[in-house]
C-alpha cells in the first residue's frame, strides 16, 4: 500500500508541479492541487501506465482525490 501511495504521489507531484506534502489522503486533484479536467484525464493515463492496469471511464470519474487513486489502484493492481 505505501509503495502504491509513493508511486502515485510521485506521478501527481511531477504532473501537477505541486509540493509533495500537499499530496495528502483527502487532497482533491481539482480543488486542492490545481488540476483542470484534462489534467485528471492525464493523471489516470499515467496511473494506467505506471501500474499496468486499465481504468475504465466510469471508474476514472470517481477518482477525485489522492486517496481515491491509491485505493482504486491498490484494489486493481
Amino acid at each position: 500500500m505505501s509503495d502504491v501511495a509513493d508511486r502515485v504521489r510521485k506521478i501527481v507531484v511531477e504532473h501537477l508541479g505541486v509540493e509533495e506534502d500537499k499530496v495528502v489522503e483527502g487532497a482533491s486533484f481539482i480543488d486542492d492541487l490545481g488540476a483542470d479536467s484534462l489534467d485528471t484525464v492525464e493523471l489516470v493515463m499515467a496511473f494506467e501506465e505506471e501500474f499496468g492496469i486499465e481504468i475504465p471511464d466510469d471508474a476514472a470519474e470517481t477518482i477525485q482525490t489522492f486517496g481515491d487513486a491509491t485505493k482504486f489502484i491498490s484494489e486493481a493492481a
Binding site: L38, V41, E42, M45
Partner: protein, 245 residues
C-alpha cells in the same frame, strides 16, 4: 517549406481524389502515411506509387468496430498517429421531404460519428506526445446549405462544431483541430457532369473554375505543419470565392 519528417499521418478516404492527393502531399513533405479507405485496390495502387513510408489500412467507416480498431492498427503499423486527416465521406442526396431515416443516419454515421470515433482514438497518443494535428474535411455546404443535402450538410456543419469543441479542450497540449471546407473540386465525381452543367457551376465561382485536389491538399499540409501551431478551431474555406466566409 513544410517539413513533416518523422511524423505519422493517418488519412481516411485516401482512395478518393482529394484524400489521395492529401496523402501524396503529406508524404512528399516527409511524413509516413497510413492510407485508409474502403476500396483496397486504389489504396494499394497509391501505396505502390509512393514507395516507402506507406501503410495500407483498409477500413469500412460504416462498421463501428472497424472504426474503433483503425487507430490501433495505425499505431501498430507506424508507431503513432501524429496527424489525423478525416477526409472520408459519403452522400445520400434526397429532397428533405422524401429523406428516409436511413439516408439521414448513414450519412451522419459515416461522416460525423466515425470522425468523432477516430478523433477519440488518436487523441490519447497526441496528448502524451504534446503534439498533434487533426484536420477534418468539411464542406462549403456545411456553411451554406444545399438542396437535396440536408443530411450531408448537417454532418459537415456538425464536424465544424465538434472540431471547435475538441480544439478548445486540447489546445494546451499542443494539439490543433481544424476543418477544411472545399467548394467545387474537380474529381472523378465532377467529370461525369456535362459541359453545360460545368459551365453553370463555374459561373457561380468568382475564380471561374473548379478547384483541384492539389489545392485542398495544400491546405491540409499547412494545417498539419509546425508553422500552423497557432491555428486551431478554424475552418479554412478553399472555394475560389464561391462563399466568402
Amino acid at each position: 517549406m513544410f517539413d513533416l519528417t518523422g511524423k505519422n499521418a493517418l488519412i481516411t478516404g485516401a482512395s478518393g481524389g482529394i484524400g489521395g492527393e492529401i496523402a501524396k502531399s503529406l508524404h512528399a513533405a516527409g511524413a509516413t502515411v497510413g492510407l485508409s479507405g474502403t476500396r483496397v485496390e486504389p489504396l494499394e495502387a497509391l501505396a505502390a506509387e509512393l514507395g516507402d513510408r506507406v501503410h495500407v489500412l483498409p477500413c469500412n467507416l460504416s462498421d463501428s468496430a472497424a472504426v474503433d480498431a483503425l487507430p490501433k492498427q495505425a499505431v501498430e503499423a507506424m508507431g503513432s498517429v501524429d496527424i489525423l486527416v478525416n477526409n472520408a465521406g459519403i452522400t445520400r442526396d434526397q429532397i428533405f421531404m422524401r429523406m428516409s431515416d436511413e439516408e439521414w443516419s448513414d450519412v451522419i454515421n459515416v461522416n460525423l460519428t466515425s470522425t468523432m470515433r477516430l478523433c477519440k482514438g488518436v487523441i490519447r497518443g497526441m496528448m502524451k506526445s504534446r503534439w498533434g494535428r487533426i484536420v477534418n474535411v468539411s464542406s462549403i455546404v456545411g456553411a451554406t446549405g444545399n438542396p437535396g443535402q440536408a443530411n450531408y450538410a448537417a454532418s459537415k456543419a456538425g464536424m465544424v462544431g465538434m472540431s471547435k469543441s475538441i480544439a478548445y479542450e486540447v489546445a494546451s497540449r499542443g494539439i490543433t483541430v481544424n476543418c477544411i471546407a472545399p467548394g467545387f473540386i474537380a474529381t472523378a465525381m465532377t467529370e461525369k457532369l456535362t459541359d453545360d452543367q460545368k459551365e453553370k457551376i463555374n459561373s457561380q465561382i468568382p475564380a471561374g473554375r473548379m478547384g483541384t485536389p492539389e489545392e485542398i491538399a495544400a491546405a491540409a499540409l499547412y494545417l498539419s505543419s509546425d508553422q500552423a501551431a497557432y491555428v486551431t478551431g478554424t475552418t479554412l474555406h478553399v472555394n475560389g470565392g464561391m462563399a466568402m466566409l
